[in-house]
Symmetry: C2
Subunit: 213 residues, 2 copies
DNA sequence: GGTACAAAGTGCGCGCACGCAAGTTTGCGT
DNA sequence: ACGCAAACTTGCGTGCGCGCACTTTGTACC
């Protein structure tokens, strides 16, 4: 039978993952991201190159992960827990909260990421990671009657967050119109997520119309 | 001044692109996708390997492109043209129409794609390609007053289509519940897009409330 | 016609992602 | 305490994506 709960195993895994994250970011900051070979990261973390690739499927991913951390699962947890407010507000609130950096780990890291195009892309792509955990969280609130709806809404939220992040990291010397000053990320997230609210509300209301399947 | 309209140039470009698509698919069908090297595709299309990589950034992309073709831009065109129906219906209709394969180019190709995991992923990812053209189409209908809303909606539509395609290509021996028989893709698309309708409707209605900025 | 410039094609070289088949560690059953 | 199976790591080999510098091809302007 496959081992279900393994303590030390999982612990070690997270340790090396963390070590890799940290090493990647540190080296990238020290020498600039173009002067960091994958071998260096692996070596700094004390594992083989091959093992490194078992954890991250690209160099950028490792660097960005140091800043992203476990943001996704925390968002999902908050959404699942905040049953006292509407689904819409729970989702928006959770996302805004998690992307509001109280004492941003490393402003230098953010600067680095937003500068280099490939890192920007990797950073923006992290938004898609919230899709899976968010699906289960939303499904729980909707009562699992319609798994598909939950998946769709989660995917849309993830896509929207991605749009917001894209806009946030842009230098954007816009063409004709006045370029909106970047402003704070929380505000941007709220405004970007706004068009999605009707869909979330509708899904939640429908759930009440037919509580049991 | 940079040349704006170039005839022969663009023509040749599309020709080689098409040649690469065709070669990729043909070879993949003949020998199985694992026995096709990028060099083979390039050679069959009569260009260098490097040029091949100027058109497609992965082997899978080239193979899948043969079936996907220019689906995205056609969707956008239909959405922009169908001003006599509501935005929601225009979008859903256009997508369903373009994904309804009247005489599917190659059933063998589809079989191949849905079989191999890496090809499945590449196929599913093509859905994201509709985002950009769809953004401009929706923005045109909403009156460009809110570019951001258009981007968000387009991103959500793309994400939702991706979810639908994911579900469609799954063998899905589900765990507990009864496994939904795959059914026809058009139906699946309609049902998957359904939860998104409120958001599209709301955006369109708001446009009427404040025609000018 | 010729000329000057941008855009597409090409060869080279370098890391990098990942499949595979070992070797090593962890944890469970008895 | 012992052994075994699953999980994790590692080295090797291969193909691939792409930056760079250079050549070729199409286009515009004279």
């Amino acid at each position: 039978m496959p081992t279900r709960r393994a303590g030390l195993r999982e612990e070690k895994k997270q340790a090396t993952r963390e070590a890799l994250r940290a090493a990647a970011l540190r080296l990238a900051l020290e020498r600039g991201p173009d002067n960091v070979r994958v071998d260096d990261i692996a070596e700094a973390a004390g594992v083989s190159t091959r093992t490194y690739n078992n954890y991250f499927s690209s160099r950028e991913q490792a660097i960005v992960a140091a800043v992203t951390a476990e943001r996704e699962s925390r968002i999902a947890a908050v959404v699942a827990a905040a049953t006292d407010v509407r689904l819409t507000d729970a989702v928006v609130g959770a996302i805004v909260a998690q992307y509001t950096n109280p004492a941003e780990h490393d402003r230098a890291a953010l600067l680095l990421i937003t500068t280099r195009p490939t890192l920007r892309d990797a950073f923006v792509d992290t938004a898609t990671a919230i899709e899976r955990p968010l699906t289960t969280a939303i499904a729980g609130r909707l009562g699992d009657t319609d798994e598909r709806t939950a998946r769709v809404l989660a995917a849309c939220v993830a896509a929207t967050v991605r749009v917001a992040l894209e806009q946030w990291v842009q230098p954007t010397a816009g063409a004709g119109g006045l370029v909106v000053a970047a402003g704070s990320l929380p505000d941007l997230l709220r405004r970007t997520l706004a068009p999605l609210r009707p869909a979330l509300d509708a899904a939640e209301d429908q759930r009440h119309q037919r509580p049991q399947r």
